[in-house]
């Protein structure tokens, strides 16, 4: 695994945990490397690997409100308990992308996995999806478990797809957050 940093990516010198950056200026490089052998060394045996559940995350009402303000949410169900309850929810409803906050701990597990071969200074966020069985509401205690579902090589880059499945305190499925991470190759 190389330590050379790639243009367009940040190495986050002041954060402690590995983190996925979502800078997208790497896009032109994805078409490069034609005729070269793939040089990314992401471990293909990651596919199917399930990590230990992350510690439970308690969804706080004020955290939901803070996230709602930060994402310019205007529907009152994201801010006001009365509006949320009138709409049939137990408490304020987390915006649709809130699950990324809970997912983060599981992605950190993946990026820190010793034999994964994922150099997080070369990782950018390619795709993101959330699939809900029901909305997240304040008061939920969510436990997230990550499984790697795909490792592909494309044009000298590797694409790793991981699903973080989140269940509530009763064990019922609430949401699955799926991320595709692009790991740039040496030639990128």
């Amino acid at each position: 695994m190389t330590t050379r940093s790639a243009p367009g990516l940040a190495t986050s010198p002041d954060v402690t945990a590995p983190r996925v950056t979502d800078a997208c200026s790497w896009t032109p490089a994805l078409s490069g490397g034609v005729g070269r052998l793939p040089v990314v060394s992401v471990n293909p045996e990651l596919v199917g690997r399930t990590f230990p559940p992350a510690p439970p995350y308690l969804v706080g009402r004020e955290k939901v409100r803070e996230f709602a303000r930060a994402t310019f949410a205007t529907n009152p169900i994201h801010h006001e308990t009365a509006a949320a309850r009138a709409a049939g929810h137990d408490d304020v409803v987390a915006p649709a992308t809130f699950a990324v906050v809970v997912q983060e701990a599981t992605l950190a597990q993946l990026l820190a996995e010793p034999d994964a071969g994922i150099d997080f200074s070369r990782v950018v966020h390619g795709e993101q999806k959330f699939t809900y069985a029901r909305p997240i509401v304040a008061g939920d205690e969510l436990t997230a478990t990550l499984t790697v579902t795909s490792v592909k090589t494309l044009g000298g880059n590797a694409m790793v797809t991981a699903e973080s499945t989140m269940t509530d305190a009763t064990g019922e499925h609430v949401v699955t957050a799926t991320s595709t991470l692009v790991v740039r190759g040496d030639d990128a």
């Binding site: 997208c24 803070e66 996230f67 906050v101 993101q128």
Partner: protein, 140 residues
């Protein structure tokens, strides 16, 4: 702008909105999300890794782009799935900020004629910044 319709034809615009992002919006999202990557608030760090400037978090762009759909839904339903591809960064100028435009159109309808999938067109500086941005909705 949202259109309070429960039935709609494919292609109907149900909501559209422009959101002006400033650097303080990026700092606020950093705090709310826990994503403190300095490329989202420090020009020197962004420049040192070859970026054209400080970028909005991709997850902030994704997060704000779905809000017009949530407002349009109101109390009638909830968002069952939401996915995007990150195709271009949103550069946020320290003085001018950046404006992200969102147009939400009906992509598919269910057997009762209600929108089932909403497709988002999300642009900044005249270019699409999210690809295949699709929201599926569920009515109560």
């Amino acid at each position: 702008m949202t259109t309070d319709t429960t039935t709609a034809e494919v292609g109907t615009v149900v909501a559209e909105r422009d959101v002006h992002l400033t650097r303080d919006a990026l700092v606020r999202y950093a705090g709310a999300s826990g994503d403190f990557n300095p490329i989202h608030y420090r020009d020197d760090v962004a420049a040192s890794v070859g970026l054209p400037g400080v970028l909005a978090h991709g997850m902030l762009t994704m997060g704000l782009a779905v809000q017009p759909v949530s407002e349009w839904l109101g109390d009638r339903g909830w968002i069952a799935s939401y996915g995007v591809r990150f195709t271009r960064p949103v550069v946020v100028d320290p003085e001018q900020g950046a404006t992200v435009g969102v147009v939400a159109k009906v992509g598919t309808v269910d057997d009762q004629g209600r929108p089932a999938r909403i497709d988002l067109t999300v642009t900044a500086a005249g270019q699409t910044v999210l690809g295949k941005a699709q929201v599926t909705v569920a009515f109560h």
